[in-house]
Symmetry: C2
Amino acid sequence: MSGKATWIWYPDDFEIWLHQKVSLRRQERHATVPPIWKLDSCHSSVSFRKRVELEREETILLAAEGQFYVSIDYVIIHDPPDAILLRPGTYELTVWVANENGLPAIYVEGDTINSDGSWEVSYNTRKFVPAAHLQFNDASEPPSCYRLEVEPIRPVGWMASTESPYGRIYDFGKQTFGYVRLHGLQGTGTIHLYYGESLEEALSKRFCETLDTIKAESDSAVYTNPRSRAFRYVHVECEGEGASFEELTALYEYLPIEPKGTFRCSDELVNRIWDTSVYTLHLNTREFFLDGVKRDRWVWSGDVYQSVLMNFYSFFDDDVCKRTMIAVRGKDPVETHLNHIMDYSFYWFISIYDYYTYTGDTSFLAHLYPKMVSLMAFCLERRNKDGFMEGYPEDWVFVDWAEMDNRGVVSTEQLLLARSLEAMSAFASAMGDSERARTYRELHDALLPQIEERFWDERQSGLVHSWNEGKLNRHLTKYPNLFAVLFRYLSEEKRRGIAAGVLLNEGVQSITTPYMRFYELAALCECGEHDRVMEEIVSYWGGMLDLGATTFWEAYDPSQTGAEHYAMYGRPFGKSLCHAWGASPLYLLGKYYLGVRPDAPGYERYTVEPRLGGLEWLEGSVPTPRGPIDVYMDQTTIKVKASSGTGRLRIPAGKRAVASIGEVIEREGGYEIVIDRPGETYVVTYG
Amino acid sequence: MSGKATWIWYPDDFEIWLHQKVSLRRQERHATVPPIWKLDSCHSSVSFRKRVELEREETILLAAEGQFYVSIDYVIIHDPPDAILLRPGTYELTVWVANENGLPAIYVEGDTINSDGSWEVSYNTRKFVPAAHLQFNDASEPPSCYRLEVEPIRPVGWMASTESPYGRIYDFGKQTFGYVRLHGLQGTGTIHLYYGESLEEALSKRFCETLDTIKAESDSAVYTNPRSRAFRYVHVECEGEGASFEELTALYEYLPIEPKGTFRCSDELVNRIWDTSVYTLHLNTREFFLDGVKRDRWVWSGDVYQSVLMNFYSFFDDDVCKRTMIAVRGKDPVETHLNHIMDYSFYWFISIYDYYTYTGDTSFLAHLYPKMVSLMAFCLERRNKDGFMEGYPEDWVFVDWAEMDNRGVVSTEQLLLARSLEAMSAFASAMGDSERARTYRELHDALLPQIEERFWDERQSGLVHSWNEGKLNRHLTKYPNLFAVLFRYLSEEKRRGIAAGVLLNEGVQSITTPYMRFYELAALCECGEHDRVMEEIVSYWGGMLDLGATTFWEAYDPSQTGAEHYAMYGRPFGKSLCHAWGASPLYLLGKYYLGVRPDAPGYERYTVEPRLGGLEWLEGSVPTPRGPIDVYMDQTTIKVKASSGTGRLRIPAGKRAVASIGEVIEREGGYEIVIDRPGETYVVTYG
């Protein structure tokens, strides 16, 4: 046997199947809470084909997930289908598989015939496409065996095990995720587990968000709870005297990825913020990018975009990006916006735009391209007569959790549409689809001046909120303005006007969600406000650490006290204390302080523009597909070392800049040095 | 509790789920053979909603297939979800259900709140439709429990149990279907069951089409084989001395419907043909109309149409018609023709046209209407520049198993399209969709003269086969011509020309499949050739009975001998000996000899035009939604009694016709009597 075989299936079906399973794991107390959106299933019946030319007879071994049979030039082989002797000759080998309860997949292993990406597959529409495969290379480990890694963990610290009014409290020392285990379980009876991201939550039998009830029926050396939970504390109550156990531990479940990005600086609090952000993102980076591990445990496209960006300065794991993009998009036909939210359809395009820029992964672009085209067609179909996107009654026009009237044409949505069209034009070009590239580009080019004309308010020096029933709603919010800055739309002059008149204007409604603060702080960095943003990072994220946070939260209001912090959605412990969007310092510190960003897909060209933002020194490494870019900066020296590609190091204006290698050029009110010697450290003194 | 609750689900999902299960039951020896077409799955995650106004508090009991929770005005209820106390008030009650492995469905029972068709459901697209329900009115019997009836049967006759070279043969006396049972199973070892629709097949361990292997591991009073099989004979071999049993019986599985139509006549052979046809159709009328019980056990739209027609003269079960129409159509979007076959898309429209005419079931029409419109849009989209349907490379243009070149524009397909457009126009009118009604009518009216102009060959007095690459293929086949006769297209004169020049012309390629002979014999009856068709019925179907058939076959060639009859598709026992389309005498005898047919939907108006076709007398009852129409005829007397509606009794020209009730009018070369007195027997003497 050649051993080159791998499990294969219909493209996207693995991700769609896995997304369905993962999405149905959200529980709130006794309720299983499926997503509020359409949940696709994988195709249940598919056929795989391969043109074979056999010089000598060969026995192939087959394994399948589902019921299956083999045909040769469409004649059914009636043998037991797991080992088949093939005669010499040239013919079409087809394996038909149906799986009512999961992903139909096959594994074929022979001397010369092995299932791999050269096979084609159809969901029996007679249209065949290349089969998909991942890392399932063992006949006995089909894709349905996909599991994250687990590792035993134990309660730690002074509260590792303490009595509670009803039983015992176990503290794992920090927020974690996994399966609780009871060792030495004896007797019969009921054991209740109440989980807490906070101690208060674990102690609240009535209001803790998640709980489990174990019916002990026989002695067990180790009982492992079948459901994974998010917790730091576990509060255990044994009902009556029936059942008991000796020890409680857990299996920590995680995606086996290591951070490739690093960051260290002169401020230890900022270093702790970085580390806690890495851990927060890691816990939420699982089968897919989840919004939070306690709640919702769902895949929301708007949250995904932020995780994608953070990922590029930390784990740089493109597999989870791809799994997530496929899953959240689902199957055609498009019947609703992603997660029902208009903005979230746009964030999907924009996520892929950034994914492509950071990774240069053209093949994934090609893979998703048809579904991008169909989602964009769905969006464009919903424009009003002026060419703007307005919410249909069934659409959710979200933007942010804040006071605003999202009826009619909301300016933020139009900016996201413009960026999506820009992305689609770039994708179409990369795909050689010049006709669509032109169409999208023309739509984009026509839309931008239209937005400006309709929404720019010279008096307020910003884009105003919306247009409804023939009237302009002059409500000034930060949202459209920060996207105009981030996407570099409008003129340089107007962007400066926005910075002063909107972003730094305390009279404008402030943003209270970490979700939109992500973009706000990024936009402030784009406006050169690094010192101010660093102060913000220290006070906001540092504030959570001061309150004992071990991961960052879904929301944080410094004016609250005590257990008030844990309440949300009208429930005392409704807030997620481990929320992906809480980890945004990863992106801010990587992109705007280490200052590394790609200028061409896959970092073929890039910029390094480090900023201290009030720190004494900083250093770190930013992962790229071509190897790391290492940056060090203090008040007199900058060091940069890259593995590949061509970069430009940009240094703000000053009296001087002297480089150990390369030429220092004065440009755009600063200095610039071209970095084109892989592996060599460029040392620049400046000041 | 009011007891008015019933299980509810998303419309069509029950049928789609059941179709998936049933379609995956086809086995050939060791191979499970899924259908060659796309197999849809039901939605896995849906939400049900109901606006409730409660005057006093009420506890509702919930049962669900899948994981579920309840929300009130979109706030999650965290209680264990199976019994919920609702407070007084007016609010929206929503039940969210997800089922990864089957049909999501719920059952809600309270004092005033009960799940029923007044609830709405969405697959979480935010578009809600009324929930579907059938006869599942018991909380403990959800739709997943749907089973046909079973009844114990035993081997009979002289061969009830006989030794074979390897074991024993059991004969159930006639073709049957169900689960073999072994009584008094003892010991451990392997028992092989080889099934035969013929004795030869059961004796052929190597070539029998279906078999089972039982691994006996413990003693069992009654072991029931888990898979249903089609068989008359079971050949049992106990491997070695390990396992044995005392008795073999079976559970006959059937749809619990009784024939409502009857037929008796002076020829006992014709009576046996009728009875055997009823049994053949009954065996194939199950969860859906299947093509054959041994093979394919699939739902083919072309076969379905014939079963639908036969059903109207025998069981008149509209439920199986509806289940089948929904299942074979599947979900939107339409990606291929039904079963991949262009003709089979058209037969679906035409089946519904006849279904509607016979039943008058407007509500089912309304239910399917959106999917009719989308399938017709798919078809019309595929017309060529001349407005004709041509096969795309992935389409199967079938017509019949016979020598013909189906490239280009095949005339038969255009006639089926015309009939489908006629049907769609009628449906649109019935739905009050006058715009589409006009569009379809105009397309139909334009297409008919185009067909005639392109394909009518005056010299051959018929429609010729096809048009390909700018050339007319003058090959003369019966197919387009018999449909022109059946659909009453072309002029009366041309139809007479077709009868003489094509249908009765022995020089024209004869039809050899029972599938197309169905239409051929019907068309001959339309041309008044009742005597000739009766001779054909007696010789063709009588021929199978002479060979010992207990059900009618997929194909029959009188020139073959012995076991040659059982071979097909290159396999010695490949032929199905119990095939729905073999039962076509039901339709022929009912429609053209008893002579009863509806003239307006649901038999509001109808015609009775009995013909002896060479018999001395005949009598029978034809079911209608308004009660039976009874007919008797001999060489001097006709008697008709109807329960409702207005009919016209038509009697061929002769010297006289005298009626006991009503007035005899001379019309169109015959006599006519209006039947408008329900329950009274009209007696007419003629001659």
